[in-house]
């Protein structure tokens, strides 16, 4: 008796009959062609491939104009130049540092706001809040994430800068500043930090909390020394996601930070971010193939590289420090 790899039926009893002609109860062969399964699998593969293809397409479309840009402007001049005036004909200068400082300041201010408030909210919701409070607070927090960023930008322009920074805090800032943009950016990303961190901490098994409490640890120590380290990969992911959103956010900074690309030395100054520059410049007026058109892609590529590097570094860090349960 031979059994072949393609499933040739072994010589058992009656010979196999065709489907419909009679049912062989001992047959191990496929009883129906199962076309549906193949179709479903094909659709799923297509869905997975689409996102990969789109990503590749975006990177390529960024890369090609950016390469032409770097044929005319050197890496060194682009990365370390301190004057950004790509459209000032006769005196074009392509030093991207002013845009980087703009993005760095708004992002830094945003994180200074979002990390303590976001983590505080997450710790309260996950460890301290009675379940009734949590049921109300968490959805409210998530509504904050649903507000369109243009509304936040308007809020920065019409309320944060004049009322809070000028009148209440008495700071000498104009209508536009990286401070007001950064503060509002920070408020915008609080829900990202809070909600994802809360999920990560709630997922830590109670057995660990009880183990800690049974040793005579109080709630705060249990939270900070057992729950927090166990949830740190999720918490770090939430911060990185928030950071990427802050770096990539366009509307708030375009409205509230200003439109002058200069080296930003302090929070009260006016500045332009990388995204702000792209939003201001990509108006359809620039002619494809020109240097000023390619400039957009060079900045876009830099933005992409920055968020990519941040992601890579944080993945490494998390692997090193997390306490996986």
């Amino acid at each position: 008796m031979t059994i072949t790899a393609d499933g040739g039926s072994p010589a058992v009893g009656t010979p196999r009959s065709k489907r419909g002609g009679g049912f062989d109860p001992t047959s191990l062969r496929r009883q129906s062609p199962r076309h549906g399964e193949r179709v479903v699998m094909g659709v799923l593969i297509a869905a997975a491939l689409l996102s990969v293809l789109v990503t590749v397409g975006i990177v390529l479309s960024l890369l090609l104009p950016a390469i032409s840009f770097f044929r005319e402007v050197s890496f060194g001049e682009f990365l370390f130049g301190t004057r950004w005036s790509p459209r000032f004909s006769g005196q074009e200068s392509y030093g991207v540092l002013p845009l980087i400082t703009g993005t760095a300041w708004t992002t830094l201010i945003a994180l200074v706001i979002a990390i303590p408030f976001g983590l505080g909210a997450a710790i309260y919701l996950s460890e301290y809040a009675p379940s009734r409070v949590r049921k109300v607070l968490k959805p409210v927090l998530e509504v904050l994430a649903g507000i369109p960023s243009v509304v936040y930008g308007f809020f920065a322009l019409t309320f944060v800068a004049p009322v809070i920074l000028n009148d209440l805090l008495g700071l000498d800032v104009g209508t536009f500043s990286v401070l007001s943009a950064g503060l509002v950016l920070g408020i915008m990303i609080i829900p990202t930090v809070a909600s994802l961190s809360e999920d990560a901490m709630s997922a830590v098994p109670d057995a660990l909390r009880h183990g800690s409490m049974a040793l005579g640890a109080n709630k705060m120590r249990t939270t900070l020394r057992v729950v927090f380290p166990a949830a740190v990969s999720g918490i770090a992911a939430s911060i990185v996601l928030a950071l990427s959103r802050a770096v990539g956010e366009t509307m708030i900074v375009a409205l509230a930070a200003g439109t002058q690309a200069r080296m930003v030395g302090g929070p009260t100054e006016v500045g332009q971010t990388m995204t702000g520059f792209i939003a201001q410049t990509a108006t359809g007026e620039s002619t494809p193939g020109t240097l000023s058109y390619n400039t957009l892609f060079a900045v876009g590529l830099l933005l992409f590289v920055i968020t990519f590097v941040i992601n890579m570094i944080s993945i490494r860090l998390v692997r090193k420090f997390r306490e996986a349960y």
């Binding site: 009675p130 379940s131 098994p205 057995a207 660990l208 909390r209 009880h210 183990g211 800690s212 409490m213 049974a214 040793l215 005579g216 640890a217 109080n218 120590r221 249990t222 020394r225 057992v226 380290p229 166990a230 306490e323 996986a324 349960y325």
Partner: protein, 305 residues
């Protein structure tokens, strides 16, 4: 009161109060009563470390345990046995206020530790748990190194420690784990086997030097060999600690416990909720050879539960 709540015990002075029995302990141990699961002579009445008097435990409106009065003796192993839902784990968790962590849990009656009402005002549950440690059903080491698992308790409770290394070694030796882990103290506790993890949890508990160790079915997730090691360990630990263990395994109670309390669940009148109650509490040898209550005998002999 000490021996049982629901049956009259045949011990002549079953009503001896807690204060009386502490004087019994001061005297050399009289050779009264047979040995428990171990070849030890035990006094008729234990020297109380923890004492329950008419304890009821509620979860919200549901009464989980009714009218439990029990004495847990110093340097003894007391087992609580009984069918599922009889409230033995609930009672155990109330002995170091771990029940506080369950919303709606409430204790009435009196649970005292060296005469102090454990649920009285001014009592800090954190301090209670430092003196009365707990080992759980499923091993729950922290996702940290073996060393840090042991050092965690002393660190967070602010214990004054001369040498943490020595303390870690001492605790691991006491839990009979040192030889197996001494070369990998910096490795994750999650790399240990289930039985080793449970001994690590015992070591972690020992490290804060409690007086009492509560064990909630500590071997139910372990294989028989790991179980035997934990049982041997309990035998050793009795010299320094008072141990209270909940177990589903009657043989385990018979093997390790000096005294055994048998619980059962009874449907309450009207509501039909099943409330746990203490049936009988006595020397283990007596519970397993000559129980006073019919229900105990039925359970022991496998006719019920």
């Amino acid at each position: 009161m000490i021996s049982t709540t629901t049956t009259a015990d045949d011990a002549p002075d079953a009503s001896t109060s807690a204060s009386d029995s502490s004087s019994v302990a001061a005297a050399p141990r009289p050779q009264v009563g047979a040995s428990g699961g171990t070849d030890r002579y035990l006094p008729e009445h234990p020297t109380p470390v923890i004492e329950c008097e008419n304890v009821d435990i509620y979860y919200g409106a549901f009464r989980a345990v009714h009218d439990v009065s029990l004495v847990y003796g110093r340097h003894e192993i007391t087992a609580m046995i009984g069918p599922s839902g009889c409230g033995k784990s609930t009672v155990l968790r109330s002995l170091n206020r771990m029940n506080d962590l369950i919303p709606g849990a409430r204790v009435t009656g009196k649970i005292s530790y060296h005469g102090q009402d454990m649920y009285g005002s001014g009592v800090d549950p954190i301090e209670v748990r430092r003196r009365i440690g707990m080992v759980f059903q499923k091993p729950n080491p922290f996702p940290k190194s073996i060393y840090d698992n042991i050092a965690y308790g002393p660190r967070v409770t602010g214990m004054k420690v001369d040498s943490m290394d020595d303390l870690v070694e001492e605790a691991l030796r006491a839990a009979a784990l040192w030889d197996e882990v001494k070369d990998k103290l910096k490795q994750s506790a999650y790399g240990l086997s289930g039985g080793q993890q449970q001994r690590l949890c015992i070591a972690r508990t020992i490290a804060v030097r409690p007086e009492v160790i509560l064990m909630d079915e500590p071997c139910s997730a372990l294989d028989p060999i790991a179980t035997a090691r934990i049982e041997d360990l309990m035998e050793d630990l009795r010299k320094d600690f008072t141990i209270i263990i909940v177990t589903h395994n009657m043989q385990q109670a018979a093997r390790v416990a000096d005294r055994t309390a048998f619980f059962t669940a009874q449907a309450a009148e009207g509501t039909g909720d099943r409330t746990g109650q203490l049936v009988e509490f006595d020397l283990t040898s007596k519970i397993f050879s000559n129980p006073a209550d019919r229900r105990t005998e039925d359970y022991i002999s496998g006719r019920f539960g």
